[in-house]
Assembly symmetry: none
């Protein structure tokens, strides 16, 4: 009974709650098919609930054919459950969540009517809109989506070394939705998900809300410390290898291969959040995880939020073989698909070459802003600040080695009174780093503003002598 | 302060915004009855707003009897809130799914930085985009959202009798997303959800994929047969009262009140899918469920897919008090929010009166198409077809009382060879109706096309004599 975790959800009669909790345990494989359920007496005393309640719960399970009562020898989990509930390795299918196991039973998503419709003179189809040319609309929508996926596939092959057919690319409404869908498709409540420490908080919250068991694995100068991944495996590993968020570290090649080997060994899915890999100021970017050998476990997410603007709400997922269908279903049930007009506009923008032209312009300007920031910090606060700068992305980390955390509070408050917004990095860590630091974004402020802001920061720092003596590591 | 969810809605004075946000937190159970509200000083520094603003907000809450000021010991949530707001459980909070129980424990959603940001000369915030005026962007986004919600609230009050503050309206990416979010917020795996029989298949699939235990309750000429709702209650009831999909029936007033009483008795949530109530050809539409007494259990979803076009992907949910915070969290974790530009465009369209002008134009054209269809069916196939016509929406049902199901197959196949697309209604039913029928959409075909299509249908019907003798019911 040790490994038995029964979470009663507090809704409805107690025996139903217990039955639901047991059902979850059975369906998630915590109770193997054919295995004995705990004796009613044992369970009743362990949970401190009446034995009648336990008996009623067991009866309900038997009624649902999840369990079988065996006179004289208690109650067993039905022998057929596994086959029924886990569409996993045995049947040759890609393992997935209970959510996706259910969508797999819903039948195919057919776009077939769109194929035949234009041939019809009259189609008395419900659901077409009034405003003219409905079939043209449907077609355009389909074509727009196809065009965008095609354009993204080309772009990824050229810029990120990722070879994927357009057919494995899913258009989503941002990286947030990508992670939300992936959670639904691969994770059940209680499944283990690894996040980096430090990490992007909303990713953490998304997995938590989904009910994942979260393990946070630390990052050093080479990115995720793969030797500290959970020995028992994990269903999902969320990483930012191109530019760890927020520490800024780039995952080394050795760690990348170690991570892929781990995923292959444990059957883990890797969520590669490649949120800002487009911006790299020195040398060539390392190839995406998704472009390496063994990468069939990698779900790659790229976004237009950083390269264009966040309110566009368009991003894309490169799905591993076998996961595309589940992802498409989850997207369809989530919101039927992204707005066709925005997709069409973006496809045109990519195909016409304007997107990469825009990227080059952005790079030039971001490079100037980054140099202004790093230079300004050096000039005005070089003795107090250590800049963690990975020469990539849209932010740097400014460590404050002679600061205590109360000093940091004073700094931020004082800066606020002088109209300078500073943002601490420690909220992104599970445990506060030894020294405080600032997460300094430079994409949203002009070079002139950055110069004045760093000078102002220098002034304020002179008013706040750090209370720690060791000023350098 | 951990469990505090504060979304300032950007409307009216800041202290009122804060009071509204706190009120939502209180009603949703994030602040338990009798618990201490944060000290004004703490809240003021956390949100970076003046202490006077916080004090004014607290005074407003006290005036509304949601809080009680206790000299010397701060302000407390009133002890009686639970009784006032929750038609349900012991722990005082609005009951919700395990998903929402988890989001309630996550940190606050503070949009407060948007409030303070414009006051800063330099804000070294990560995550702002490069392309100029990032703060302006943020503001515009927020304002656009606020403006759209305001415009929808006005529209709903005028056209559907629904009184709601903009603060209870959530913008979503279609009715599909509305249902998907509602499932996450109110349903756990195994919870009972009722759908109508017949029903919109994707709604069924959404609930199935989510793991709900589905009970389907039949519909007659008065809509959902409320006496056949499950005696043990249901967590969620999905209905289309304005124009049952696909049968076309309109739910009678008696059934509406019976449904609301059932929901109040069992603590069920009702999902009112008001997908095409804008189009009614005779008389006035019945008021929305959400506009009636006891409607606090009704989650109302309206969409622009039928009135404008589906690829817009914009719809809205009017949330019951206390559920807005959970829905907002689910939306945020799902995709961070809908594209700001589309929202802004739509808000302008609504505010400028163009939307209702467009509605009137659509009504005129839809009325012509509907008359052409009903007239054409009468003229060319009146002896064979019984039209189920509720004088609303964008489709009618054409019953074929002398047809067997094999006859229907022949009809559809023959029509296809003549380039006429016909669509059976029985796939929407759990059990095939006694006689086959066609679901005939008229919004996407012109009057001229409808005339030719009904003539063609008449011709084909003459070639296929129904194999059943009783030609009339």
């Amino acid at each position: 009974l040790n490994s038995l975790l029964l979470e009663l959800d507090g809704q409805g009669p107690l025996f139903e709650q217990l039955a639901r909790a047991l059902k979850n345990s059975i369906l998630s494989g915590r109770f193997a098919p054919g295995s004995r359920l705990p004796a009613t007496r044992t369970l009743s005393s362990t949970l401190a609930i009446s034995r009648n309640t336990v008996i009623s719960a067991y009866e309900l399970l038997c009624a649902e054919q999840l369990a079988v009562a065996e006179p004289g020898s208690g109650t067993r989990v039905a022998a057929e459950i596994a086959a029924l509930s886990t569409p996993s390795t045995a049947d040759g299918g890609i393992p997935c969540s209970r959510y996706s196991a259910r969508t797999r039973k819903l039948g195919p998503i057919t776009l077939a009517r769109l194929q035949i419709a234009p041939e019809l003179r009259y189609n008395l189809q419900y659901g077409d809109p009034l405003m003219g040319a409905s079939l043209f609309q449907s077609w355009r929508r389909k074509l727009a989506a196809a065009a965008l996926r095609e354009a993204i596939a080309e772009y990824l092959e050229r810029r990120r070394g990722i070879v994927s057919s357009a057919g494995n690319i899913l258009i989503v409404g941002g990286t947030q939705q990508a992670l939300s869908l992936v959670s639904r498709v691969v994770l059940d409540e209680g499944d283990t998900a690894v996040i980096e420490d430090p990490h992007y908080q909303l990713a953490h919250h998304t997995l938590l809300a989904h009910g994942a068991h979260i393990v946070s694995t630390p990052v050093d100068r080479e990115g995720l410390i793969t030797s500290e991944l959970p020995a028992r495996g994990a269903r999902l590993i969320y990483v930012t290898p191109s530019h760890q968020f927020p520490s800024g570290e780039i995952m080394s090649f050795d760690r990348r291969t170690a991570l892929l080997a781990y995923a292959a060994r444990h059957g883990s899915w890797i969520f590669e959040d490649d949120y800002d890999s487009e911006f790299r100021y020195v040398g060539r970017p390392l190839p995406a995880l998704r472009s390496l050998e063994l990468s069939d476990r990698v779900i790659y997410a790229g976004t237009f939020s950083k390269t264009l603007f966040p309110s566009l709400r368009l991003a894309y997922v490169v799905c591993p073989a076998g996961l595309y269908g589940d992802m498409l279903y989850a997207k369809r049930l989530d919101d039927l698909g992204c707005a066709a007009i925005d997709q069409a506009a973006l496809a045109t923008f990519l195909q016409g070459g304007q997107f990469e032209k825009q990227l080059r312009k952005s790079m030039t300007e971001l490079r100037r802003r980054r140099e202004a920031l790093v230079g300004g910090l050096q000039r005005h606060a070089g003795a107090r600040i250590q800049v963690g700068d990975s020469q990539a992305g849209m932010h740097v980390v400014a460590w404050l080695p002679d600061f205590s955390y109360p000093d940091l509070d004073r700094l931020i408050k004082t800066a606020l009174t002088r109209s300078l917004g500073l943002h601490p990095i420690h909220p992104y860590y599970r445990k506060r780093p030894a020294h405080p630091g600032l997460l300094v974004g430079f994409a949203g402020v002009s070079v002139a503003q950055i110069e004045r802001a760093t000078a102002l920061l220098g002034e304020i720092l002179r008013e706040i002598p750090g209370s720690l003596t060791h000023r350098a590591r």
